[in-house]
Amino acid sequence: MRIGIDVGGTNTDAVLLDGRQVLASIKTSTTADVTSGIVAAIDGLQRQCAFDPADVRAVMIGTTHFINALVEAHRLAPTAAVRLSLPAGASLPPMVDWPQRLVDAVSGRSYLVHGGHEFDGRHIAELDEAELRKAAEDMGAHGVRSVAITSVFSPVNAEFEARAAEIIAAQLPDVAISLSHEIGRIGLLERENATVINAALRELAAHIVDGLAASVSGAGITAPLYLSQNDGTLMDVDFARRYPVATFASGPTNSMRGAAVLSGLDTCAVVDVGGTTSDVGVLQQGFPREATTDVSVAGIRTNFRMPDVLSIGIGGGSRVRGSAVGPDSVGYELTSKALVFGGDTLTATDIAVAAGRAEIGDPGLVAHLDREVVRGALGRIAADVADVVERMRTSAEPLPVVAVGGGSVLLPDELAGAGAVHRPDNHAVANAIGAAIAQIGGEVDRVYAIEPGRREAVVDEAKQEAVDRAIAAGASPASVGIVDFDEVPIPYLPGNATRIRVKAVGDLQLGA
């Protein structure tokens, strides 16, 4: 048995799974301390389906806690950004394009030091260790508790970041150190931003991860604990302490992956209809397709891997005027404003009830609605959602649609151009089920100089490295496969420089 828990801003959802069978599922309120909500959720599962804690083989948690801490600029550690780049890069120092309130919230200090690599691995300058020691001294004097180290072209060669970490750790043994090559890809400012954010969250991560572990062991469960990452794979608690940024997009990812499991489709479009918006994403072989553009988080430009999600303003709370639906919504006031709850605002939920698609509130209160208005609104919703699904398609191949979320009753059984809409059971806890899918990944993203006739060998080498990384992270070797491969030649560079990205994923090797 496994337990999957999704801690959202409002709800904490949990499921108890045996293989892919849902034995119990529960929704509770998220608590300010996160942990008591988890204890309540595990208790709720126990009440629904009594289980022996010793039979639980793993607990997986998805949480939006860290991204919320950044957005709210709350509990961020005093952080220093160290950039190994001089004589390059001085004109645009670390955190140059950040909102000032977040620079203040991390008490951001920055240090530029000689070092870094060229695109082909040559040194821009030798690492200046004396300069670095002086910087470390200054950090110590200013109470810096977490350090982000970013070296130019560290995704090509990380030696300077590793050496700088040794030097700083020797001088400041108690600070947490985050290295950019472990966090982001090519694109210095974006990778550095992600690394500084990660560094600022390290103390909170240690605290939260300890709390999660305590609440799980408090329930008598001794199985290992994992956290979900942006791409839907898992990380163990030690990794989560070091890389809290890797949880940032786990919410939508888990919801999509859960929908895939529930429907038995691993390549599909998932439409998650909430109160205010419908979010549409695409799963390929069970993993969300990633956004290709840089992503701003709390006003900071980063290059995290984030799922590609397109949202439109149609949800259960959307206001209906004539045949127009949304984009404004009554939101959390649905239960007082919607007609079916005795309110005075016509919402999409009222339309669904009037059409007999859902039984919510008092259907008698919408019995008077003009059939034409109901038909018109449903037609508009179907057309708008179909359009978004169509926009997310990447090929002419048929793409099945899976609908989840409380508002999914608004969707028709067939979408124009997409065919039948799948509505799996238990869709309200799809996110917790997504968290419980036990898979582990390994990734390579690097620029290779490909000599003539060597392309296949280089590609094989990259693939093997991704597989090895997945196995090292805890995947069962027999189950590891390549799920994503991308090869982009880089213009204006000699020697057929090509950026290769490979992702390998396998099932979590569960202990006996």
Partner: protein
């Protein structure tokens, strides 16, 4: 626009990306560098081309190398000024104006950095009216203005001056030096007098970039079609609306060549467009028939936002509108076509022009 302030930079960057015709590099770093330079040194005076005096000493500056490298090894502001100062020193002349070599992408903003750093006015004009991949592909070449002597500078303080027998040699040697310098070098070339600048440059480039950027911004704010606003400002026309269904890329001697296939939407449903590119978009074919080609501008814009989509950023599933706009008429002379027409890029077709709307 008589001066450039930090408030203009977002519009200029957005407009420059459109004139980049798919290439020219992400203007983001250029915008940040320009913003830092303007904050430090104050606004840069912008001089209309026709007000540049005969005896002015005008130096275009540009970034040479790989945009992919520039986003990782960030250039320094000093490096930009150093390239211009080095060339002025070699020429033994007092530099009076900075100019843009190309209108597209990052290279519309690098000269702003140089002008701010050196405390000089910037000429509102450029050498192409668009972006092209090679150094000799500028209108001054048609006027017999030599690319060299040219200077090249890296962030370490290394600098060089090349004096070559023709502009193709300048491209070749500068390319080698750029690679050794780590693929993110600053150059200054095509030194010219004010009289030569007035004759050979395309006027109003930075104003055009700012106006294009503003047109997109304002159309979005007013919920009108930003693509239509761009087409109107460029006096171009819409070639095709569609979805990217296939992108094939390969690197040939340092250039990313490739093709994107678009499947038509709305009025173009059922038709197919193929975009052929080498960093920039070169030829647009509809159902096998060329609709536009270099030297005219072929721009691929996000259908909703009106933002330029670079050839590197082309991905399956994007919904784009392809537009074409007339290049400066001098590109359509036999000499202009020879320098940057389809045959130079290896496409055996006559150039397909877009008449100004």
């Amino acid at each position: 626009m008589r001066e450039i302030t930090t408030g203009h930079l977002t519009d200029i960057a957005r407009g420059a990306a459109i004139l980049g015709t798919g290439g020219g590099g992400d203007p983001y770093i250029g915008r940040l560098l320009a913003s830092a330079a303007l904050r430090e040194h104050g606004p840069v005076p912008l001089v209309p081309l026709d007000e540049v005096g005969d005896d002015a000493v005008v130096l275009p500056v540009a970034m040479m190398g790989a945009p992919t490298v520039m986003v990782e090894k960030l250039p320094s502001a000093e490096q930009v000024g150093l390239a211009a100062r080095t060339l002025a020193g070699y020429l033994g002349k007092e530099l009076t104006h900075i100019a843009c070599a190309e209108a597209g992408g990052v290279n519309s903003l690098i000269p702003v950095v140089a002008a701010a750093q050196l405390g000089l006015p910037l000429v509102d004009g450029d050498g192409m009216g668009r972006a092209f991949p090679e150094l000799q592909m500028v209108l001054p070449t048609l006027y017999g203005i030599r690319a060299t002597p040219m200077s090249i500078a890296d962030e370490k303080g290394n600098r060089g001056v090349l004096d070559t027998v023709d502009n193709h040699w300048a491209e070749r040697l500068a390319r080698s030096a750029t690679i050794d310098m780590g693929c993110s070098a600053m150059i200054s070339n095509y030194a010219m007098s004010g009289a030569q600048a007035r004759e050979s440059l395309v006027a109003g480039t930075l104003t055009l970039c700012a106006e294009l950027g503003a047109a997109v911004r304002e159309a979005r704010a007013a919920h009108t079609d930003p693509v239509a606003a761009v087409v109107a400002r460029l006096r171009g026309r819409v070639l095709f609306a569609g979805k990217v269904v296939d992108v094939a890329r390969r690197t040939v001697s340092g250039f990313a060549r490739g093709e994107a296939r678009l499947s038509g939407m709305d009025a173009d449903a059922g038709a197919e467009m193929v975009l052929k590119f080498q960093n920039e978009h070169l030829v647009a074919e509809r159902d096998g028939i060329p609709q536009a080609s270099v030297p005219d501008l072929i721009c691929c814009l996000d259908r909703e936002s009106g933002e330029a989509v670079t050839t590197e950023g082309l991905r399956y599933g994007q919904r784009v509108t392809v537009i074409a706009a007339p290049a400066d008429p001098r590109w359509h002379t036999p000499e202009g076509i020879e320098l940057a027409g389809p045959r130079y890029f290896g496409y055996d077709i006559d150039p397909v022009g877009v008449a100004a709307a």
